[in-house]
């Protein structure tokens, strides 16, 4: 354990800033103007989160409609066409207009605060990125009105969220629904690249004095790797969308199989984005866990360098696993073997993370706050999601499991069981910082237990019809296959999840007005965002802090035993 050389000109590790913002709200028009024209990373972060929550409710409602339709065999609650639109919109919305913006929102809010900066590196780019992404989301939903142009209303995209060619070709997708899908994703991609650039630049250039890369909070490290991945993987997606537009309007034949194009080419383009995208979504969840688990275990994160290394490893390896989505395409034994190996290897750095979280808990004093309960749920559920992922990585096993409900259960275990649980956890943890008020803990625990029950009813039992041969994306199914009882259980769980989510939304609103005042540091935490008022002033810190370790507030609270003496 190397000892750090103290920085002589920085006697204090951080400065608690209790400066209050000028009181008194203006006219609502002024307030609105303030939000629309803002370039403040905190306000933009909150707007990202708000817009993601709105889409979360919409896309969640779409999922509910699908579960009603599938609760019993041969149901006619929605038409086949409507069902196909529902799963397309649900998937597209959840990935591009819930997952990405909510994570960018937290990143935007937290990164400058955690590295002691006053804003992101490019505040105007930040605002541009937000508005262009938001416009993309609106465009996607405008397709309900404009998808079929003058021929009639009511045609949202129905090509699935991975929009395999040639379903998207003019011959199979007339009208404009696919165009709205393409354009909305193009725009959201531009926004994502903007945010990613901003995060990379902020992380590299804006750290406060003393915050070396090796002292950066793990959250910032993970967002940094995440942003680098976004820069790499959004490009092929954008390229593919442009090629698709060329096919549809300028007569090119990249994916137009009827003119000799290649359906497999689209799959490669899409999944070289699509698989790393899963890691783009999950790394911020890991990032939250890296901050929340130590604070509520009252211990420093175990194996900081290993956590950073594992994250970088995941970043690189995730770029070479995409064709495990294509094991049934007929790429040949050689390619299938390679992608089996690459996919299995990614379990190693992912496992390292789980073990380090376990070691962080070990020997701690674990406080089961609502935030921590969601984080614990995340640990178990991510473990299971990883293990079903290993099953799917074995190519021959995937020939059976791929495109079945088993896969749907697997990736919802990642997206809901891991990512959404960690997002809820992050809300309970950082809401006090963002609003100045605590979320109600009792409601939070009700939210946790109800959502947990719903989650397990839905996604545990969803594996079973997959093992029994039920393919995904079917609007109904045969009664004699033995799938009915399982689908009924799955659908009933969805109701619990909906109730849990409503409770959470109620808590967000109620606590904003009635929650106990949080103060700057309600969790007795260690990173810089807790060194300023809640909510922080526009300028974040009255005096730019300077740090000597990874946990500046620990040093402040324990001057006799600072972290800098021990860090590896």
């Amino acid at each position: 354990m190397a000892t750090q050389i103290p920085i002589p000109q920085a006697p204090t590790t951080a400065i608690l800033d209790e400066t209050l913002e000028p009181a008194g709200p203006g006219l609502w028009l002024e307030v609105l103007h303030g939000w629309v024209t803002t370039v403040d990373h905190k306000r933009l972060g909150l707007m990202y989160i708000g817009y993601a929550l709105l889409f979360l409710v919409i896309a969640g409602f779409e999922a509910l409609m699908m579960r009603v339709q599938l609760a019993i065999p041969n149901n006619t609650f929605v038409s086949p066409q409507t069902f196909n639109r529902l799963f397309t919109m649900h998937g597209t919305t959840m990935v591009f207009f819930v997952g990405m913006p909510i994570l960018f929102g937290f990143g935007n809010y937290l990164i400058p605060l955690m590295i002691g900066a006053r804003d992101m590196a490019f505040p105007r780019l930040n605002a541009f990125s937000f508005w262009i992404s938001a416009f993309g989301g609106l465009l996607l939903y405008f397709s309900f009105l404009g998808g079929d142009g003058l021929y009639g209303a009511g045609t949202a995209p129905d090509v699935g969220w991975f929009a395999y060619a040639p379903l998207t070709a003019k011959a199979f997708s007339p009208g404009h629904s696919t165009d709205y899908w393409t354009l909305s994703i193009l725009l959201s991609g531009i926004g994502s690249v903007g945010v990613a650039l901003n995060i990379v630049a902020t992380t590299i250039c804006m750290r406060c004095p003393g915050m070396k890369l090796t002292r950066m909070p793990l959250l910032v490290w993970l967002y940094f790797v995440d942003a680098c991945m976004v820069l790499v993987v959004v490009s092929p997606l954008t390229a593919a969308q442009i090629m698709l537009m060329l096919d549809r309007y300028l007569g090119s034949h990249f994916f137009d199989t009827q003119a000799g194009g290649s359906a497999v080419l689209w799959m490669h383009f899409f999944w070289i984005f699509g698989h790393p995208e899963v890691y783009v979504l999950v790394l911020p969840a890991f990032a939250f866990a890296n901050e929340i688990i130590p604070v509520f275990s009252r211990k420093a994160i175990f194996g900081y360098p290993a956590m950073v290394a594992a994250t970088v490893a995941i970043g690189f390896i995730s770029l070479s696993v995409w064709a495990h989505h294509m094991f049934t395409v007929g790429l040949g034994a050689g390619a299938n073997t390679f992608f089996t190996l690459a996919t299995m290897i990614i379990a190693v750095p992912t496992g390292i993370k789980i073990f380090n979280w376990l070691a962080t808990l070990w020997g701690g004093k674990i406080h089961f706050t609502a935030a921590m309960m969601f984080a614990v749920g995340f640990l178990f559920q991510f473990l299971i999601a990883g293990l079903t992922g290993i099953m799917l990585s074995a190519a021959p096993f995937d020939w059976q499991l791929g495109n079945s409900y088993f896969v749907v259960a697997h990736f919802h275990y990642v997206l809901v069981g891991a990512i959404l649980f960690m997002i809820f956890s992050a809300f309970y943890y950082w809401y006090p910082k963002m609003t100045g008020r605590m979320l109600n803990e009792t409601l939070g625990k009700w939210h946790f237990w109800i959502f947990l029950i719903g989650f397990h009813l839905t996604f545990d039992f969803m594996h079973i019809p997959g093992l029994m041969g039920m393919p995904r994306r079917v609007y109904t199914y045969e009664a004699d296959r033995g799938w009915a009882i399982w689908n009924m259980i799955v659908s009933s769980g969805a109701i619990f999840q909906a109730i849990g989510t409503l409770l959470f939304v109620y808590n967000l609103v109620w606590s904003y007005f009635k929650g106990p005042v949080a103060g700057p540091d309600p969790w007795d935490a260690w990173t810089l965002e807790w060194a300023t008022s809640s909510p922080p002033a526009v300028y974040n810190f009255a005096v730019v802090p300077s740090v000597q370790s990874r946990r500046p507030l620990w040093d402040l609270k324990h001057p006799e035993d600072p972290d800098s003496n021990y860090e590896m």
Binding site: P80, Q81, D158, G160, Y164, P166, L167, F172, Q258, S262, A263, S297, K299, A300, F302, G303, A306, T328, V329, G330, G332, N336, T337, T340, L341, M344, A347, V348, I354, F355, L358, A359, L361, W362, K365, I366, L383, I384, L387, T388, M391, A394, A395, P396, F397, W399, Q400, N403, I464, L467, M468, G469, P471, R473, T476, R481, G482, I485, W486, M568
Partner: protein, 336 residues
């Protein structure tokens, strides 16, 4: 006593729910068997990992929970920053597990994808359509749809069926879980898979790649028959369509209408290729790609408007009057 009986009944009912004609855990051919064996290995290893890691997690959560009654409750626990030895151990052990799993997987992968094709193998070409399956038997010239007939393969004298697959429109995927894993049918691409059912019987499956509106009703029925039964079936399918004079009126309706642009009935003017070959329609158990039983009433409804069973099917409603509908239905039911 009553409780016990209901208990037994409940268990029996629950275990009933695990039975399925399409379960991947009741393999009936070599490819599905080798996947099943691999799956047992993968499942036991992952279960082992789960029990160890989840057990440790649970132990940590219980043992190290904050106890407000503890006199040292307000004191911070010892801060431990990491250990290179421990990191190394939980890196190396998973790598060893991964290598083992990978080698087991690669063996199954190569034994299935690079299996040598015996000269006795039967070739069938499958063409995927929105939303039905077209089957060609190149050696005998037979063309049929949706219900695939193949011979049982005796392990002592293997006669596997090799399926050469492509698509006429969008992507599809051929999945009969008890026989083999799925393989995609992709336009402009030719894929091959093989199956060798060990026992006669009906094996069910369905399209496993989203292909459009009626993806859910693109069902597969594979009839594995003894070599003698299969030969008889094949010989019958090679014959031209039955010409029943009693159904002449229905045939005339069929030939006067647009039916002939999309369907083939061998020996008549109907030579269309967009829809299923109807030469021996009445010899099939189901219509509409396995959606409904092949009964005169169902045929009549389907011809009247396919949306009765498959809204979004590409066949249009035929707008025939009741008389013509009856006649055509009667004609189609004679096509044994």
């Amino acid at each position: 006593m009553f409780l016990r009986e209901t208990g037994i009944l409940a268990v029996a009912q629950i275990s009933d729910h695990f039975h399925s004609a399409t379960s991947i855990f009741t393999p009936a051919a070599t490819p599905s068997h080798s996947i099943y064996t691999l799956s047992q290995l993968v499942l036991s290893i992952t279960l082992g990992i789960f029990l160890v890691v989840a057990g440790l997690l649970l132990l940590a959560l219980i043992r190290y929970r904050h106890r407000p009654a503890d006199p040292k409750a307000t004191q911070e626990p010892a801060q431990i920053y990491g250990s290179n030895q421990i990191e190394l151990s939980w890196t190396v052990i998973p790598i060893l597990i991964v290598v083992m799993l990978f080698l087991a997987t690669a063996r199954v992968l190569y034994s299935t994808e690079h299996a040598s094709k015996p000269p006795t193998a039967l070739d069938v070409t499958i063409i995927g359509h929105q939303f039905w399956w077209e089957y060609h038997y190149p050696a005998s010239g037979v063309v049929t749809a949706n219900e695939l007939h193949i011979p049982v393969s005796d392990p002592r004298q293997p006669q596997p069926t090799y399926l050469t697959m492509t698509s006429a429109d969008t992507d599809h995927s051929f999945w009969v879980p008890r026989l083999a894993g799925k393989k995609d049918l992709i336009p402009n691409k030719v894929n091959v898979m093989w199956i060798d059912p060990e026992a006669a019987g009906l094996y069910l499956g369905q399209c496993a790649q989203y292909c459009g509106v009626e993806h859910a009703k693109m069902l597969i029925r594979v009839y594995a028959q003894s070599p003698a039964d299969f030969a008889a079936w094949l010989a019958h399918q090679q014959e031209p369509a039955v010409q029943d004079p009693a159904a002449a009126e229905g045939r005339a309706v069929f030939e006067k209408n647009a039916c002939v642009s999309c369907h083939t009935i061998a020996g008549t003017v109907a030579t269309g290729r967009f829809g299923p070959d109807l030469t021996h329609l009445a010899s099939r158990d189901t219509i509409a790609s396995g959606s409904v039983l092949n009964t005169p009433a169902n045929i009549r409804s389907f011809v009247d408007n396919p949306a009765h069973f498959k809204p979004g099917a590409l066949m249009p409603a035929m707008h025939l009057n009741d008389h013509d509908l009856d006649a055509v239905t009667q004609y189609l039911t004679t096509l044994k």
